[in-house]
Symmetry: C2
Subunit: 153 residues, 2 copies
DNA sequence: TATTGTTATACTCTATAACTATA
DNA sequence: TATAGTTATAGAGTATAACAATA
């Protein structure tokens, strides 16, 4: 029979994480890290990090969106978006056009190459969703997202 | 009637995030950020970040745990833990004692002050759990953690 | 030969202050 | 006066290489 009560200066064989595992935040963070890791690996072929994918996808579904709107939607500080947008433009995935009503702003649009990449990347993202939630049923996956939204919305 | 189909160079009034919201990763990350933000605010009185709290709590429930075990459990790189441990020791919340079986390692233990702080901090963490999951029933909260664990374990 | 703890270091991510041009 | 976009910069977080002491 193994010793149960840890006496002073006893080595820990198995780490007890039961307390941390009783916290939603701990579980949410661990799950997020696993998904982000898988995302980084699978999106590397496109040269896209999660944030780049989010930006491109939002431009795809919102042609003409401004940098400011991207910042608000994705919780990015404006100075931190500048470099990303410049890089996406240098890679000829997006273009900047004058905003129709606001001379200060620029509307962001995908190039043909950008559209093609987003299309492919979204397919990869879907496959990734399947893989990371492989142990969940369709109903459970839906339920999980509903519960998560109840926290952040 | 409002214009429905966005023509070239049309301003985006309302950003359509429906695609991103269909991804588990996006929802998990957003929820995690909300919880971490709340955690940072509420734990500031103790001078503890989430990682400091996790470290102290693991030492509390696993007296004698080594740095290496903390790193493995929390997915921290050993060099990045050194500073945290030093700081917690300087704050007289933990002590390092020789490991009983391994001369290379040090067992980590809470001081009386450390035990007192962990006790209080865990109460605050519980209150925080209540607040961040206020829109979830007890059953939903349990379900959420089970579903998250199915992703990361 | 492998592992624990450590130092030094670099790279990424995120945040703030301040500027310009337009509103 | 306020906002969009930008520059410069600082701080936090995270990663790798290499070392001494011990297994």
């Amino acid at each position: 029979m193994a010793t149960r009560k840890p006496s002073p200066d006893t080595a820990i064989e198995q780490v007890d994480t039961s307390y941390l595992e009783s916290l939603v935040g701990y579980n949410a963070r661990r799950a997020t890290l696993v998904i982000v890791d898988a995302f980084l690996r699978n999106m590397a072929v496109y040269g896209l990090r999660p944030v780049d994918f989010s930006v491109l996808s939002l431009i795809a579904h919102n042609p003409g969106i401004t940098s400011r709107q991207l910042c608000t939607t994705l919780n990015i500080q404006p100075p931190n978006l500048v470099g990303m947008i410049n890089q996406l433009q240098r890679r000829e995935l997006i273009t900047r056009r004058p905003h129709p009503h606001d001379g200060r702003a620029m509307g962001l649009h995908l190039t043909a190459a950008g559209k093609k990449m987003v299309k492919q990347a979204e397919v990869t993202a879907s496959e990734l969703e399947e893989a990371t939630t492989a142990r969940l049923t369709v109903a459970e996956r839906k339920m999980l997202m509903q519960l998560l939204r109840k926290i952040y919305i």
